[in-house]
């Protein structure tokens, strides 16, 4: 396991990027779902909530079929690259971030929007302040999104291929060690994964509390 450092780094990179992209998608879209007034809103919401239950294997299969040479985007040659993992993980975590964002914002007092606009906020400024006000549940949404990707294995396996030195991440390495019968190694890798996740959560919590303390 000399490549353990490399594997860990790739895990963190891939999952962090996927989470950030999910945030970029999920936060605005979830906000729109929570604040928008349009027909079919609850329909869309239940679609997004269903997205929170997207099985990683299914996402992996569908993304793989798209990225395989035989698939529509095969020409991009992305299959079995970290980019492919990022794509699949984004598909997994974007609905999580989206659904939880929508729930967090819908729970705010609706008069808050009015008051912010009344103070001269532009729409963007208003939304920014709403995010600030809901930062606690939004942080939980972010953590749940990160949790869903750093821990998943089905999609990383299928679209990444668990290729040593290229696309092997912590979870796929754990599966490999398990299937080799190397349970101790698998447990050691698991412990590493959890410690890392804990440190990231702790960092986010501290940043958030510092922000709140000001």
């Amino acid at each position: 396991m000399s490549d353990i450092f490399e594997i860990t780094l790739l895990s963190l990179q891939v999952s962090t990027i996927a989470t950030l992209i999910s945030l970029l998608i999920g936060l605005p879209f979830g906000t729109w779902l929570a604040l928008g007034k349009f027909r079919g809103r609850s329909f869309l919401l239940s679609i997004v909530n269903t997205g929170m239950a997207l099985p990683p294997v299914v996402v992996g299969l569908v993304v793989a079929m798209t990225l395989w040479r035989s698939g529509p985007l095969g020409g991009l040659r992305l299959i079995y690259t970290p980019v492919a993992i990022i794509i699949a993980q984004t598909v997994i975590s974007a609905p999580v971030v989206m659904g939880l964002t929508a729930a967090a914002l819908a729970a705010l007092d609706p008069r808050l929007q009015q008051q912010l606009l009344g103070l001269g906020a532009s729409r963007v400024q208003m939304i920014w302040m709403l995010w600030r006000e809901a930062r606690l549940p939004l942080l939980a949404a972010l953590m749940a999104g990160f949790g869903s990707v750093i821990s998943e294995v089905g999609a990383s396996m299928m679209v990444g291929g668990n290729i040593r030195g290229q696309t092997r991440v912590l979870t796929t390495a754990i599966v490999l060690e398990t299937s080799k019968g190397e349970f101790e190694k698998a447990l050691a890798l698991s412990a590493l994964l959890l410690v890392l996740t804990y440190l990231i959560n702790l960092a986010l919590t501290l940043i958030q509390q510092r922000g709140a303390g000001k």
Partner: protein, 296 residues
């Protein structure tokens, strides 16, 4: 001539040392010192989990990459999935162990070249008490005995090479527990390692390849009860995907890999692999033989 396949691989250790060079000269072979990167250096190798789980590819693939400058993307999946990846042109080269299905693939024109690489063997393992008394029986009789005793038996049930082998034994015995679904017939639908764990926990019999069994032996309460039969050979072929069907495949790379796998130097490495750890080799090189030699 080449020696006939001997029943117990353990007694067959010396095959490689006298193996002649394969009939075709390895055209692309180049000394490590003057590696020039191939035009299309990426190869996708779809293989079964057993080759990866045993650790063999972790030894061979870096060797190949160093010798040729190719970069191999090893995708370890179920046999069915590996064959499907070949069929749809999503892999360049396959390393699989399901001879009957491989022939179908070749006949359909999806594979171009198919070369014999190596074999190991299947064994039947089970609880030490051997409740169905299969020790010493022939394969067919062993399956009948298990069926009649109605003792737990774990079937992979996943269309893998191993599963196909098992099905062929049930067929020979003219029995069909997969359809009858008796209580004792446990279908896991999982890989070899996981299925072995299930068998161990359930005190069941199971047909397994020797390599995976040896790798997991420590964690298992299973003993080898039946081994060393001709019918138990587990034969691996390397198949290049046909570029006429799928122009996008890296045929040169696939060919280079096939040549590498059948190269005498590589074959020697295969013969040595696992000896240090398990006291016996996990695979036996066969590049100098034909399918007929192995009774296929």
């Amino acid at each position: 001539g080449t020696p006939a396949p001997t029943a117990a691989p353990a007694t067959q250790a010396a095959v490689v040392t006298e193996a002649p060079v394969a009939t075709e000269a390895p055209a692309t072979e180049a000394p490590a010192t003057e590696v020039s990167a191939p035009a299309n250096p990426n190869i996708i190798l779809a293989t079964t989990t057993s080759t990866q789980d045993s650790g063999l590819l972790d030894v061979l693939v870096p060797m190949f990459e160093e010798q040729t400058g190719y970069v191999v993307q090893t995708i370890a999946v179920g046999t069915g999935e590996a064959l499907k990846m070949g069929e749809e042109g999503n892999a360049d080269v396959l390393l699989v162990h399901a001879p009957a299905s491989e022939v179908t693939l070749m006949d359909a024109g999806f594979g171009k070249d198919r070369m014999l690489v190596m074999h190991n063997d299947y064994i039947i393992v089970g609880p030490a008490e051997d409740p169905a008394k299969i020790a010493g029986l022939g394969p067919k009789d062993a399956f009948v005995a298990i069926y009649n005793a109605a003792v737990p038996f774990v079937s992979r049930g996943d269309d893998s090479g191993t599963h196909k082998k098992e099905v062929s034994f049930w067929k020979k015995a003219e029995l069909d527990p997969a359809t009858e679904k008796p209580e004792w017939f446990i279908e896991t639908g999982q890989g070899m390692g996981a299925s072995l764990t299930v068998a161990s926990e359930k005190g069941a019999y199971i047909l397994t390849d020797r390599a995976t069994y040896l790798a997991n032996k420590e964690n298992l309460k299973l003993e080898i009860l039946l081994e060393g039969n001709n019918a138990f050979l587990n034969v691996y072929h390397v198949i290049t995907v046909n570029p006429e069907k799928w122009p996008a495949v890296n045929y040169d790379g696939a060919m280079a890999f096939s040549k590498f796998m059948t190269d005498p130097a590589t074959q020697a490495v295969i013969a040595e692999f696992g000896v240090e750890k398990f006291g016996q080799p996990l695979f036996y090189p066969d590049a100098d033989k034909t399918d007929a030699d192995l009774g296929l």
